[in-house]
Amino acid sequence: MFRSRKLVKPENLHSLEYLKYIYTVLSKNQTVTDNNRTLLVESFRSMAEILIWGDQNNPTIFEYFLENNMFNYFLRILDQKCGNYVCVQLLQTLNIIFENIRNKTALYYLLSNNHVNSIIINKLDFSDEDVLAYYISFLKTLSFKLNLNTIHFFYNEATNDFPLYTEAIKFFNHPDSMVRTYVRTLTLNVYRVEDESMLQFIRDKTCAPYFANLVWFMGKHVLELDASARAKPVDVDTQKTIQDQYRVKLADLVSSHLDDLHYLNDILSSKVDILNEVLVDHLMDKLFVPYYIHSLAPPDKYIIVETEEFVDAVKQQPLMNVDICLFLLTQVFLIIHQTKLVTPLAKFLLGNNFSENYQVYHGSILKDEASALPENENEVKNDNESDILDLKSLTCMNITDEEKEILLSKNEADSARSQCLESIYSQLIIEKSDSSALFGICLLYALSENSGLSKEYYEGFLTPTLSEGCTPFVHCDERNELIDKLVNIITAISEPVCYVRSATLEMAITLLKKLTIYKEKTFISDDHIAVIYNAKEKILPLLRQFFKKEEMFLELFEDEYYEMHREKLNVQRLLSDSTLLLPPAHSPMTGIPLSKRLPCGDVERTRHFICAFLMIRKLLMTYEGKEETQLPLVDRTKCFVFDTPINLNGNDLITCMIIAENGAKTRRYLSIISSQLVLVEPHSRFLGWGVCKLSCYLQDTEVTKIDNETKTLHIIMHNSKYKMTNTVKLMFDDHIRCNAARQKLLNGRIKARRKQLNQIANLLEMNSCETNYAPCNTTQKQKHGLRSHFTDIAVHTSNVLQPYPISMKSTNSDEYSAESNCSSSTHSRDQSPCTKNLNKPECTNSQKVSLVSQSQEKIEPKRKGRVETV
């Protein structure tokens, strides 16, 4: 007997002996003291490891564990208020066991006997963030074990008990966001289990308090959001730090509201009708109708119903800002696609006969009320003493009666059109800020895109009239009026004073297309098209002015073009930006992209109008059924791709070396083909052919020469489509070849830019390509002496050598060979034939320069009759 006092720790942790040793330790230390604390923690830690090892390798381990009821020690120790140090290890051991155990029988044993439930209801010290985190994690792990076979271990039908769920939802509003996330995961896992009796329990005992609280807190956050978006600091563009804090807060509020909506959508998607009915009713009654619908369409007798807290609350904060209301409603339709919720809400928004719709909806409330709400609440209170949810008291939630009166009072106000729609329409008129218009458009768009909403609610209104007559909800002439409004927004953007943002225009156009285009057919009146056309005509003179004085016009134009085609408009992403809730900003220093604010300065104004022009032009082309023929200016997809074989016969080739960063040299041949800089290596089989190793359109290149390196050039290649740059260092045999290459590239660049400016002039319907600046001014500041020197030459020589005859026969180095699979021929052929004479090899550099400018001038007269010298 005495010998056994001295416990011998077995060497091998993964053995039955070790578990026996732990058993002895636990039975000898049933009371936690300061002295055995560490030993106990160590024992529980090892226990996890042995059990899982046993689960996978040695069944006798688990048998021993079960025979000796070792699970009881967990409980016994937890019951002692063992201190957080031991508690955390216990919870982690439980986590490890339940997460890693594979043997079903063992799992079922552990779950039976109510052991786990006893642990769940144990009142631990949740003020300790570790205890809480490990505890919630434990509950979450268990929730992943829920299915039809295991549910009865957790939910006891006889005693009407489901501690896993009821304990977890107590933390649903915990300040720690991860804790909240784990609780939400658990609830969703529970709703997935199709056990009728359990779901009935959830509905009867917890739905009202849990959902009511969820909705109540959403409402509270919505009001906070409203308040913080309203409390606009003096000017959005000033006071940087205050601004930042303020924006962060707003962004947080919006993000967590979106989280909530996604959560609602996840619950509703679980298709548990008995729960969803309750949730939908709560949402409609306590959030959507009183906050959103009533803010859009204040009921006349709203305030007259003098009953208790709800109306008091309403009096203080009766209506939300309409912009925010539209924004939030849009989010609902963007995120939630469940018919049960979106249909009643859409009816409120679109219904032309409010009372009738209400009857429909009201029926469901009454039905529901009879079956669920009133009795639950009492039961909940009685059964679980006020601790099932120590949250807002339920009486506060129980406002359906008052609301009913409010809603009923609405019946009497009989209006021809839905008051909500009326209100949305009035927001579409842009006065000072385009925010309301933007949100109004987004809302209607989100409605029409919502997959949970039956088409009948908006057919003929948000889509072209398909049949004669009206939808049950909206009159047809409302579609026309909406088109009017949208077309007016398009007109508004053509004003020289900018107050409509590009994002608003894009949304307006998107919605307009939705309203007027169906299966490639257009349904729009000539009058409306004429208005849109006029808007474009009004932008043109503005753009022409910018074109003349803005040196970077070409770059801006191309950039806007690619920006427009970069990605499809994603309304959900657009609206996840909380800065939209602030008054439209001007300053780029806000960090808001230009499309979501108003332009500041001429460059941005230029961009703004280019963008508007491109969008309106594209819209008109859609209506006219025209194909795009003029854009993009340069089809960069036609750039020679890596490893393309090219016939180089007759092309100028300059030998050079590419110098890599590490100094490695690779021999290449530089040539200019189809307005592209091409670096080739000789083709392995065909003589006179090369294989493209690097290519770039000349207008996207920048050539610099470093002063003390006479033989090398740095070439920066911009990829305007992907916004990437790539620099290569080229070394030539001598400085003459180096200079020749440089001149060639620079000339080519000027020529290419010239050509594109002409294309733009064409688009802008200008008589000539007149600019106030020299064409060869590069986009970069001219840091380099030689370059500006070159510029001078260009201008100078073109004047002097104007009458240079252009009649030489061309070797046509600028044309690519027919065999190559580069297909940009159409582009080069746009140009008048005389460009082909340009690169006659015998020309000296300066002659070439003159030719460039001159031939440009020759081209223009042919086309437009008038030309200005550069």
């Binding site: 942790l13 993964h14 560490t38 923690v41 160590e42 830690r45 996890a48 490891e49 899982i52 090892w53 996978q56 390798n57 140090y85 955390v88 290890q89 982690q92 986590n95 490890i96 997460e99 890693n100 963030e129 570790d130 985190a133 490990y134 994690s137 979450k140 792990t141 992943f144 300040p175 720690d176 966001s177 991860m178 909240r180 996330t181 784990y182 939400r184 995961t185 969703l188 962060v248 947080d252 993000s255 967590s256 979106l258 989280d259 909530d260 996604h262 959560y263 959508n265 996840d266």
Partner: protein, 211 residues
């Protein structure tokens, strides 16, 4: 136990790459690999020292919840650091990185520090993804990269601690708004700037989560 800051991490990547094992290995590295023993866990906390400051790391793993959009969203949003894990013996897990990264970037706060982890470096014979490829991916996307083994615990410590260092640097630079708990950073209960170094440096007291 007191700490200067608490950083919340999330751990993401395809199923089976070893997230749960990494987490347990880090929070309680006494779990020795024997007989192909598979032990993982989905939550863990540990105290580490960064520039002598005690920092508590909480790692939250929410594998298996991809079905719920709302969960993914809030999970990303509440974290200051993320370990993006792939398995060097399974190319598909590497190929999915872009999707994971897009998700992370879309939902997380823009300052979240992301560490790329190529796990199971002990299985050199079965390697399908070269170390250079991991490095290149990390460089291209501006991530820190490391190959680890949850089995031999090689680099596991470093992965978690380097991430913490980077977050800490961002705090020093004032990039992170530490007053906003939504960012996954919490200031400790008794935040003192004095000499709050942990005795024994990196050495945890026994038991995980003791901090």
């Amino acid at each position: 136990m007191s700490y200067a800051y608490l950083f919340k991490y999330i751990i993401i990547g395809d199923t089976g790459v070893g997230k749960s094992c990494l987490l347990l290995q880090f929070t309680d590295k006494r779990f020795q690999p024997v007989h192909d023993l598979t032990i993982g866990v989905e939550f863990g906390a540990r105290l580490v020292a960064i520039e002598t400051k005690p920092i508590k790391l909480q790692i939250w793993d929410t594998a298996g919840q991809e079905a719920f959009r709302s969960i993914t969203r809030s999970y990303y949003r509440g974290a200051a650091g993320a370990l993006l894990v792939y398995d060097i013996t399974r190319r598909d897990t590497f190929n999915h990185l872009t999707t994971w990264l897009e998700d992370a970037r879309q939902h997380s706060n823009s300052n979240m520090v992301i560490m790329l982890i190529g796990n199971k470096s002990d299985l050199e014979a079965k390697r399908e993804v070269k170390k250079e490829e991991g490095e290149a991916f990390a460089r291209e996307h501006g991530l820190v990269f490391m190959e680890t083994s949850a089995k031999t615990s090689d680099n596991v410590e470093e992965a978690f601690i380097n991430t913490a260092k980077e977050i800490y640097e961002k705090i020093q630079e004032g990039v992170f708004d530490i007053n906003n708990e939504a960012n996954g950073i919490k200031i400790g209960p008794q935040h003192s700037t004095g000499n709050s170094s942990i005795p024994g440096g990196n050495n945890r007291a026994s038991g995980n989560g003791c901090c």
